[in-house]
């Protein structure tokens, strides 16, 4: 019964797993120290040899992990290797593109491609905005009291049905130049406000797109109501120039955000062959790419609003700039970019 299995000389031989570990330990520790530098963001300080060594060390560590799982019962070792390989994996396979490179490829290709993929939703979002504008215009024409339901006081800045034609005209042209400070603060506020509305229009899309449609229609309604007030005072053409100089960009941005939200809503509502989760995350990533640029458009719109509108007072010049931004966006988004890599 009591046959001794491990006789003394045999017992002094190190375990295979022990030897395995001793032979590779130095390599793992080198990988670990390189990763420590890389993770701290100091990987520019690594030499070329070190950078080239990381993938090689990673592969040898990951094969060591496989072997260790199959042959070693040293839990501490297996856990160490799992942790080391995970960190190295993220370094080796993670995107190492810098922020600048990512932005470059985004503006050169990614954004326009994503927008092109959204053309159906874009059309729908545009029609909903138009519908909101037409309905609000008709309602305010019929009864000016509706105006206050569409345009919150904070945004109207005194431009309401009771205002005189003279006052309305003065809001369109920066004649006195005395309220300049307040105006530029107001423009900045409007920009941050619009950007948040755009982000919300996008982010609420997952609720089957319903809040997105409502926000789009409401945005159109504000526009329609404002138009109605100015047209009643025969200032329609002038308002057009005042609005469109930045409005082409701004409205396009908000419609784009709405289209991105709709895409997500549609993907959640009608996932097709994919699971709802997979469909949502695919649509979410496509739509978010389009969304990334929306904020940039809003910044441009804010600049046009803040500077362009104050410096350029002629209606025709305003229309000319509005027209050229429209052409610019049409070319930028419409230009064929080839297939996604």
């Amino acid at each position: 019964m009591s046959d001794i299995v491990n006789d003394a000389p045999l017992r002094d031989i190190p375990l295979r797993s022990n030897r395995f570990r001793r032979e590779r330990e130095a390599e793992w520790q080198r990988l670990e120290s390189l990763l420590k530098l890389a993770e701290a963001g100091r990987w520019r300080r690594l030499s070329d040899d070190d950078l080239l060594a990381i993938p090689v060390l990673y592969r040898s560590a990951i094969s060591a992990l496989s072997i260790a799982r199959a042959t070693s019962l040293d839990q501490g070792l297996v856990r160490y290797l799992e942790a080391l390989c995970t960190r190295a994996y993220f370094f080796v396979y993670g995107g190492r593109a810098s922020l600048g490179e990512r932005l470059g490829s985004f503006f050169a290709r990614g954004w326009a491609r994503a927008v092109q993929g959204l053309w159906r939703e874009l059309l729908a979002a545009f029609l909903v905005t138009l519908l909101g504008a037409v309905v609000a215009y008709a309602m305010v024409q019929a009864d000016p009291d509706w105006y206050r339901s569409f345009v919150p006081a904070g945004l109207s800045g005194g431009r309401d049905p009771e205002a005189t034609a003279q006052y309305l005209r003065s809001t369109l042209y920066d004649e006195g130049r005395n309220g300049g400070d307040a105006l530029s603060i107001f423009a900045t506020y409007l920009f941050t406000h619009n950007a948040r509305i755009a982000i919300m229009t996008f982010a609420l899309g997952f609720a089957f797109g319903v809040p997105t449609l409502l926000l789009l229609a409401y945005n159109g309604a504000m526009l329609g109501a404002m138009l109605a007030v100015f047209i009643r005072k025969d200032l329609g053409f002038e308002l057009g120039g005042w609005l469109m100089i930045h409005g082409v960009t701004e409205l396009l941005a908000i419609i784009l955000a709405g289209a991105a939200g709709l895409r997500i809503g549609l993907a959640v509502a009608f996932p097709g062959a994919d699971s709802r989760l997979a469909s949502a995350s695919l649509a979410g990533r496509q739509a978010a790419t389009a969304m990334g640029g929306v904020v940039v458009m809003l910044v441009l719109a804010g600049l046009l609003e803040g500077f362009g509108r104050q410096l350029i007072q002629g209606d025709l010049w305003r229309y000319a700039i509005a027209g050229s931004t429209a052409v610019f966006w049409a070319l930028y988004f419409g230009w064929p970019r080839g297939r996604a890599a």
Partner: protein, 291 residues
Amino acid sequence: MSAALNTPPRRDAGEPGRIRRFVTPEGVDLRLTLGEASERAGAFLIDLSIMVAILAAITILCWAMLAGNRFADLSLPAIIWLLSFFLLRCFYFTVFELRPSNATPGKRLMGLRVAARDGGRLGADAIFARNLVREVEIFLPITMFFAGNDPVSGWIAGAGLVWTGIFLFFPLFNRDRLRIGDLLAGTWVVKLPRRALLADLATAPAGSGPAFTTEQLRAYGVKELQVLETVLRQNREATVREVAERIRRKIDWQGESLADGEFLRAYYLALRRELEGKLLFGKRRKDKHDQ
């Protein structure tokens, strides 16, 4: 600890529920651990404090500019403040997560990072998607909450609270601890483990240690071996004594009387040698009930 040596194993016992398969292109499963809800919340609070601190600094700066009256028009400080508030709110998370570490300072401190659920590269699109949704998840209800104090605003604040509640606790109601943003972006937040390489316990002793019989080494399996490893690594006197006692009884130890720690080390080495030997022949004895 020592209870595991004695009680029959439950299904999946000892296996934390947050481990997920994650197969690298080399075909090796890295077994990622998901970030706990508490760690996520901690990371978010750290980030929020950093944002508030930055905003406070900017506010003080703007006040100083106003008070110093160095700038004739008052619009500059106001514009700086509005813009930095906006940029912080919308891009703090995005910019940090776009960096190669894919983690905000808060996540880094908590040892977390964002990863793509399908094991692929984490694209900028995914990072945009998961962080734009934050606007509705957190910041919108916060704004609602501070909306005002007439009755209607009260209702809105209440609705905002319910709304945040749904979003806030959403991660707790799914297995993978996903926010709505994670859901839309196809991402999850995983732990980035940092472990030191611990010394191998199975180094052969200088002289020949005590000898165990095959019978005595068949008492336990891999699971018990690893519990023993933990006990030895923690090296708590009371536990070591108790476990040594229990093993001596179980294997009916009649040999030389050794100190508890020494005995456990010797038994660990012998048991590991035995089990690893079997492992080489393709037999992994899971635990003591596995024949």
